[in-house]
C-alpha cells in the first residue's frame, strides 16, 4: 500500500528528497534508457533507499479499440483472465489520449476501470495503477494497492500525444499548484484570484497543504518573481504520496465520495460567483462523472 514514483524527464533528482520519502517504489522504463544508464540509475536508487523497482517495458501501443472498457463485462473478462495467472502484481496502464491537465470524464469507462482494479485486488492480484493523476483517488476507492505518478503531472496520462508536450517551445513549462479542494491544477494567477474573491479557504485543503506548499506560498510573498516550477512538481508529488497513503484504508470509498461531493460544491460556488480560472476547461466538469463512476461502483456491491 504505497505510492510509486513514475520516473522520466530527468526526475532522478526527486528520488528520496526530503518531503517525498514516502514513495516506496519507482517505475522506470528500460525503453527510455540505455542499458548502462539503467544500471547506473538503479545502483543510485538503491543507495538512496530500499525502493521497489518496476521496469515498464512500454509494450502498450494498441492499434485497435480492444483496450477500451465501455462495458463492465470488458473489465470482468480482463480481470478473469489476469487473475487466472495469479500474478504477483498487475501493472495497469490506462491509455487515454487526453490534452495536458485534462481528466478522464467518461463515467462508464472509469466505472469499468474501477471494477477491473477492484476485482483483481479481491481475487488476490495486487494492482499498481500507473500514470495516475488526481484520479488516483478513484483507484484507491476501488482498492488499488499502489498508484504511480510523476513530476510531469501535465503529462501524467499515458497517451501517444504526450510526447508532443516535451517540445514546449513557447517559453518553458508553467508551474501548477495541485489543489485537493478542487482536485485541479491551478496556475499562480488562479491562487491569487481565489484569494481576491474570498475563497482563500479553497487553497491548501488536505494534503495539498504540504511542506512544499508552504515554501511556494512563502515564495509568493517574499520572492514573487522567482520561478517555482521545481517546487510545483514537489508540491503535487507530496500531495500524491500522502493522499495515496491516507486512502489505503477500507473506508476509502466513503472518504473519496465525501471529498468529491465537497469538491463539486466548491466548483459550484466559484461558478455562482463567476470566479473563472485561467484555463477555460479548468472548470471542475470532470467531478460529476467521477461521482457517477464511484456511485455505480458502490452500487455494484463487490
Amino acid at each position: 500500500m504505497a505510492a510509486y514514483l513514475q520516473m522520466g524527464h530527468d526526475s532522478e533528482n526527486l528520488v528520496g528528497v526530503p518531503g517525498l520519502e514516502g514513495f516506496s517504489g519507482l517505475v522506470l522504463s528500460p525503453v527510455n534508457r540505455s542499458e548502462g544508464e539503467l544500471s547506473k540509475h538503479i545502483s543510485a536508487f538503491r543507495q538512496k533507499g530500499n525502493y521497489d523497482l518496476v521496469l515498464d517495458p512500454q509494450l502498450y501501443c494498441p492499434k485497435s479499440e480492444r483496450g477500451q472498457l465501455p462495458e463492465p463485462s470488458d473489465a470482468l473478462r480482463i480481470a478473469s483472465i489476469m487473475s487466472s495467472r495469479k500474478p504477483p502484481l498487475c501493472y495497469i496502464v490506462v491509455d487515454a489520449d487526453l490534452p495536458p491537465r485534462r481528466e478522464i470524464e467518461n463515467a462508464p469507462n472509469l466505472f469499468s476501470l474501477m471494477l477491473l482494479v477492484s476485482t483483481l485486488e479481491k481475487s488476490g492480484c495486487p494492482t499498481l495503477v500507473s500514470h495516475c493523476s488526481s484520479d488516483m483517488v478513484l483507484m484507491k476507492a476501488a482498492g488499488a494497492s499502489h498508484c504511480a505518478s510523476g513530476k510531469f503531472f501535465n503529462l501524467r496520462r499515458f497517451s501517444r500525444s504526450r510526447f508532443d508536450e516535451e517540445q514546449d517551445v513557447g517559453g518553458g513549462q508553467l508551474p501548477y499548484w495541485f489543489e485537493q479542494g478542487l482536485l485541479a491544477f491551478l496556475r499562480g494567477a488562479d491562487i491569487a484570484r481565489l484569494r481576491r474573491s474570498g475563497f482563500d479557504n479553497f487553497i491548501g485543503v488536505g494534503a495539498s497543504n504540504n511542506i512544499f506548499a508552504s515554501q511556494i506560498l512563502e515564495q509568493f510573498v517574499n520572492e514573487p518573481t522567482k520561478a517555482w516550477l521545481g517546487l510545483s512538481w514537489r508540491q503535487y508529488l507530496a500531495w500524491f504520496e500522502l493522499t495515496e497513503k491516507g486512502l489505503s484504508v477500507a473506508e476509502a470509498p466513503t472518504i473519496v465520495s465525501n471529498w468529491l461531493k465537497e469538491v463539486e460544491q466548491r466548483w459550484e460556488q466559484l461558478e455562482s460567483k463567476n470566479v473563472l480560472l485561467e484555463e477555460s476547461r479548468n472548470n471542475g466538469r470532470w467531478i460529476r462523472p467521477w461521482r457517477q463512476a464511484l456511485g455505480d461502483f458502490s452500487r455494484f456491491g463487490l
Binding site: S73, L76, R77, S80, I81, S83, S84, T119, S123, L302
Partner: protein, 282 residues
C-alpha cells in the same frame, strides 16, 4: 446409462487384447459404452469404448499423462488408454479407469435426497478433488453422473474427464441446442460460450456450485421458472447472475459461499480451492 449394449463384441475383443476378463455392460452415452471388466489381477475396472468416427480427442496427450499420474483418491485413476481397430475397421478409443461399485450421485439421488450436512460434505469432497487436479487440469464436466462413490463410502470421486468430445461440438451451447439438456445444465458461462481463455479450475467451481444448488433447492441457481430449467442455461450464457430466490435461500441456510461459487465471471468466484473450503466451513 441403461440402454442396450451395441458394442459387446468389441468389448470382448478389447478385453482379450488387454488380457481382461468378463466384460459386463454397465451403460452407454451418445458415443460411448462402459463395461465392467477384471484385469489380470482380478481387479474390477471400467472399460470405456468411444467410437472415433463420432468424436475427437479433447484432451492433449500431456493432460492424459497428467491424469494417469494423478494419485488422488478423489479422482478416478486412468489406468490405461489405447486405440482399438475392430474387424469392421471401426476405430475406438479405449479408456480403462478404476471401477466404482458405490454408484454415482445421480443413482443415489434416485433413492433419496441429501441433507444439508451431506451436501456440504459432498461439496468439500469435490473441491478437494478439484484441488488435487491443480495446477494443470480442469475437469470441465462435473455433474451428478460423473460423481461416483466407492462401496459404502461417502467421499465422492470425479470420473470421466471429457477425454473425448463430440466432433460436431463447436461449443457446449451448440451441442445442447442440438441434443437437449444434458451437461450444459452444470456448465459455466465460459464453457457454454467456448471461451477457452476464461476456462480454468473456477469453471469446475461453478459446476460444483450448480450441483450444490440442485441438491439444496431442487433447481439451477439461475432458474426463474420452476417449470423451465432449460431457460437457466440461457441465463448462464447471458451472465445474468444467480436469482434472488436462490441467493435468499443460500443466505438463510448459512451458505453464502455457494452464491459466490456460481458468479457469472471467474474473477468474482473464489480465487483458490482453499478459499472455498474455508468459506464453506465458516
Amino acid at each position: 446409462m441403461n440402454d442396450k449394449p451395441e458394442l459387446i463384441d468389441v468389448a470382448e475383443l478389447v478385453a482379450r487384447k488387454l488380457d481382461f476378463k468378463n466384460p459386463t455392460f454397465c451403460g452407454k452415452g451418445s458415443f460411448k459404452e462402459t463395461y465392467r471388466a477384471e484385469d489380470s489381477t482380478g481387479r474390477a475396472t471400467a472399460l470405456k469404448l468411444v467410437d472415433r468416427t463420432k468424436i475427437s480427442i479433447e484432451r492433449t496427450d500431456r493432460e492424459i499423462e497428467a491424469l494417469k499420474r494423478c494419485n488422488s483418491p478423489r479422482v478416478a485413476k486412468i489406468l490405461a488408454t489405447t486405440i482399438f481397430t475392430a474387424p469392421d475397421k471401426r476405430v475406438f478409443d479405449v479408456v480403462v479407469e478404476e471401477f466404482f461399485d458405490g454408484g454415482s450421485l445421480e443413482d443415489r439421488l434416485k433413492v433419496r435426497s441429501l441433507t444439508q450436512a451431506e451436501v456440504i460434505e459432498l461439496v468439500e469432497g469435490l473441491i478437494l478433488a478439484v484441488k488435487d487436479l491443480q495446477p494443470n487440469l480442469v475437469h470441465r464436466d462435473i455433474k451428478p453422473a460423473n460423481i461416483m462413490f466407492r462401496k459404502n463410502q461417502p467421499e465422492p470421486v470425479l470420473v470421466d474427464f471429457g477425454i473425448v468430445r463430440d466432433l460436431s461440438q463447436t461449443s457446449l451451447t451448440a451441442s445442447w441446442l442440438a441434443s437437449g439438456p444434458g451437461t450444459p445444465f452444470f456448465a459455466s458461462p465460459e464453457q457454454l460460450t467456448n471461451d477457452k481463455a476464461l476456462t480454468d479450475w473456477r469453471s469446475d467451481q461453478f459446476s460444483i456450485g450448480v450441483v450444490a444448488s440442485l441438491l439444496l433447492t431442487g433447481r439451477h441457481p439461475y432458474q426463474v421458472d420452476p417449470a423451465n430449467p432449460n431457460a437457466a442455461i440461457y441465463a448462464v450464457i447471458e451472465r445474468r447472475g444467480p436469482e434472488p430466490d436462490f441467493k435468499a435461500a443460500m443466505t438463510q441456510a448459512g451458505l453464502p459461499a455457494i452464491i459466490k461459487m456460481v458468479q457469472p465471471w471467474p474473477v468474482l468466484r473464489f480465487r483458490d480451492p482453499d478459499s472455498v473450503l474455508a468459506a464453506i466451513k465458516r
